[in-house]
């Protein structure tokens, strides 16, 4: 798995910005946004290129110009784009907080809220889960790497200010925190992630207890 990890990833926000706004073509984005809209109302299974073309107000030929490998490429790249947008929004939302603890607490609350409002996830039925995983799985490692690199820079700041232990293995720790954040945003049974003190308690114990001084 080591080869899947980029040892020196650029800042998460830069990468995400480039993926989301930067050089992305307007038409390309419009097509992907149409996929999200169609998937939100009718699921992934029945989603056809014709539906997407009509929702994006482009021809099917245009879709194939941007996604020459067809439906599978369109869905996989849309999933990566949408997940990147998700994390970019989380990163934006927590940017105003100063400490790593506050950013993690805010990130969990906001990430969870966004998940619960996703039409695709809300309308998901059994047979769609596999389809969704099929298209989202390829970006998993990339996204975790980006989240870890974002957290890593926060950790470095905390070490500099003396709040975090100086002897930390930064890569291991950032990777651990990224896994925990992703896991908690996806699944938090028994915890109301809108309950700030409860979330803070989790962050202090399960995320940061061994990391902060």
């Amino acid at each position: 798995m080591a080869e899947r990890y980029n040892p020196d990833p650029p800042m998460m926000t830069e990468v995400l910005r480039a993926m989301v706004d930067g050089n992305a073509l307007e038409t390309r984005e419009r097509i992907m946004a149409a996929v999200i809209a169609c998937a939100g109302s009718g699921g992934l299974r029945g989603l056809s290129m014709a539906d997407v073309a009509s929702a994006a107000s482009v021809s099917r030929t245009t879709i194939y110009r941007y996604f020459p490998d067809g439906r599978n490429q369109l869905l996989t790249e849309t999933a990566t784009w949408e997940i990147a947008r998700f994390w970019a929004r989380v990163a934006d939302a927590v940017a105003g907080f100063e400490t790593l603890e506050d950013r993690l607490v805010a990130g969990l609350v906001i990430g969870r809220r966004m998940m619960s409002r996703s039409r695709i996830l809300t309308n998901l039925n059994g047979s769609d889960v596999g389809d969704l995983l099929e298209v989202s799985q390829p970006s998993d490692a990339l996204m975790r790497g980006l989240v870890a690199s974002y957290i890593r820079s926060g950790l470095e700041d905390e070490i500099e200010t003396g709040r975090a232990r100086a002897d930390l293995d930064l890569d291991l720790t950032a990777d651990y925190l990224a896994r925990m954040a992703i896991s908690w945003i996806a699944n938090s049974p028994g915890l109301d992630l809108e309950d700030d003190p409860a979330v803070r308690r989790i962050v202090r114990t399960q995320f940061l207890a061994g990391i902060m001084r």
Binding site: Y5, L133, Y176, R179, A198, R204, T205
Partner: protein, 254 residues
Amino acid sequence: MSGRYAVADAGLDDAPTIDITDVPVAADDHNSRTPFGSLTRASVGSDAESRIADGFMACVGRWGVGKTTVEDIAREAGLSRATVYRHFPGGKSAIAATAWSLDVSKFIAAVTDQILDARSIEDALVVGMTTVVHHFGRHPALNFMRDHEPAEFERLVSFERMDTILLASGTSMAPLLGRFLDPVDSFDVSVWMARILVSYIAEPAAYFDLGSEKDVRRFVRTFILPGLAAEKTSQTKTPTQGDLKNLGDQNVHC
């Protein structure tokens, strides 16, 4: 798979040796089934059903979920197709569900045995994690899926299933940690361990080897034990009672 092996064989130096005895691996020889603890026995169905479940795991280990047919499973189990359908009218997906839940029961039994011998919370967590990792590390079906059918693999631990997996881990493992921790902490730390294990088994980390007891001990000392200590001094508690009630388990929270 009736041999013994020690974690120390995996290149560890100063760590104490842990015997992982008869860690049952799916797709095992049907005739030499390890006698599992009561936890398992309760969930094991008929002999034919476990043979079918084993047959499923053997096929998946060879060519994956996608290419495995009910025909293949029947042949592997030495049963007719009709018999297989009599036990599992739902076909392949029903067989898969039973096979995976039997598999989980097997490793819970293996972990239970190991944790019962632990003398401290640190040892309990280390041996618990190591046992689970070894079980899955030598699991042909899971390894095939992870390498060749990542979407099928992810489906096993997808977010819609994870709540159940996490809560079930809490309920089954918490009583074992009751010697070292209070019930709420036992439950929370069990769920926490399950969260960590799922993540690292699905996507191994470049920075440490979950199969190495030394690395796992360092991990437990760095991230888990300080969290447990902090928990002790914390003011508020996670509201887990509701979930436990939903699971109908009265033993964890008395």
